[in-house]
Symmetry: C2
Subunit: 230 residues, 2 copies
């Protein structure tokens, strides 16, 4: 959000200070995650793209493969998503931001103090639904994954390029609805590649299971290749 | 967005100043709109809820009834939406916010200087797709309308109450997709009413035309009842 504060020099200075402070906290978190051999995924997207549903299936899928997973989930209000995710059996905490439009590294730090991170293989952070304001806040993650739903329209990467450009991987969600929504998935993939060349992309449907196995394989390969495992 | 800047006293003071400046500009705009007998609608929602499609049909529908309409449309990047809306035959301008997550009264003012507002009956402002940051920015509008798509999930009003609470009317969009998306429209309406009691709500589909005629009737009744017409 601070990236977006319009302009006097005083405001620009302040927003730089906020981001600098966030970056410092994120660096400390990242060192801690690496020391604990924890692979951290930051899930970002607009509201209603199916982050929670995808995450629920992801937590179940990794647990079925014998891996230890946990999740933090951010929303301006309610704890609905934490309750849904807890059904997977994984430890989950809700972060209510009370109107703040993104998660920050400090909020993540506060939630983790009473968890023993070395017990987990993966930590998932479901960010607030926002295609703009989550962009500049590093949460110390190993991987930033952006979701694009077929219900949103193929052009979202072009309209909101900054966030898509910071992502390491992309998931097209709700592919079972593509025909009903008249969404051209190939066009969506091209727009993602235009904004972020060579980004890996999965076509998925949490409902039919499409693409979920490949997505889990990718997460496991990424963790095995990550610095903490070297 | 400024509502969401976390908090030192210095930042709180700054955000209050930004909003105060915006409110002052919005007041001037509102007086100007009333003097010109112009009815202004601010359309807000998350990304991909169908604001542009609804607006395209609205512009056509009002023009078919002999009314003069114009539109401003905000996006972080691209002029796709202005090109789509221009197909209606109405004058349209794109506001590229270059990463800013909401429209501000000053941006509206800058776009209007070379239009003779007295020529129009309605001005529509399509805000940036964002369920948080558009909340606190008054644009001098006569009516704030929030869109909720059946593809987003019934619980969005509860998760993002601040924006829904500031709206004067709500439109549920893409109702033709409700069954495919397993969306319970009655539940969505209840959640809207819980956050904003007595808000008028339309179930619509720009694709099938559902609800569009009632929505246009409402716009006409609202303009006839507005202070500029007294």
């Amino acid at each position: 959000m601070t990236q977006n504060t319009p302009g006097s020099p005083r405001i620009i200075e302040l927003r730089q200070n906020i981001l600098k402070k966030n970056d410092e906290r994120a660096r400390v978190l990242r060192s801690q995650f690496q020391a604990d051999r924890l692979f951290v995924v930051n899930l970002v997207s607009g509201p209603g793209t199916g982050k929670t549903r995808l995450l629920e299936e992801t937590l179940r899928g990794l647990r079925d493969r014998g891996l230890q997973v946990a999740a933090l989930v951010g929303d301006p209000e309610t704890d609905h998503d934490a309750l849904r995710l807890a059904r997977s059996g994984a430890p989950v905490k809700q972060i209510r931001t009370h109107g703040i439009c993104h998660l920050e590294a400090e909020m993540i730090h506060e939630q983790l103090v009473d968890w023993n991170l070395a017990e987990f293989d993966y930590l998932f952070i479901e960010n607030v639904g926002n295609l703009v304001c989550t962009t500049n806040y590093d949460l110390g993650e190993s991987l930033r994954v952006v979701l694009l739903s077929v219900t949103e329209g193929e052009d979202k990467p072009l309209k909101y390029p900054a966030l898509f450009n910071t992502a390491d991987a992309a998931i097209i969600t709700k592919c079972d609805l593509a025909e009903a929504c008249e969404c051209d998935i190939e066009e969506a993939r091209k727009n993602l590649q235009r904004v972020r060349p060579n980004i890996p992309i999965w076509n998925t449907s949490a409902k039919t299971g499409q693409g979920m196995s490949e997505w889990l394989d990718f997460l496991i390969a990424q963790k095995n290749a990550s610095p903490s495992e070297v």
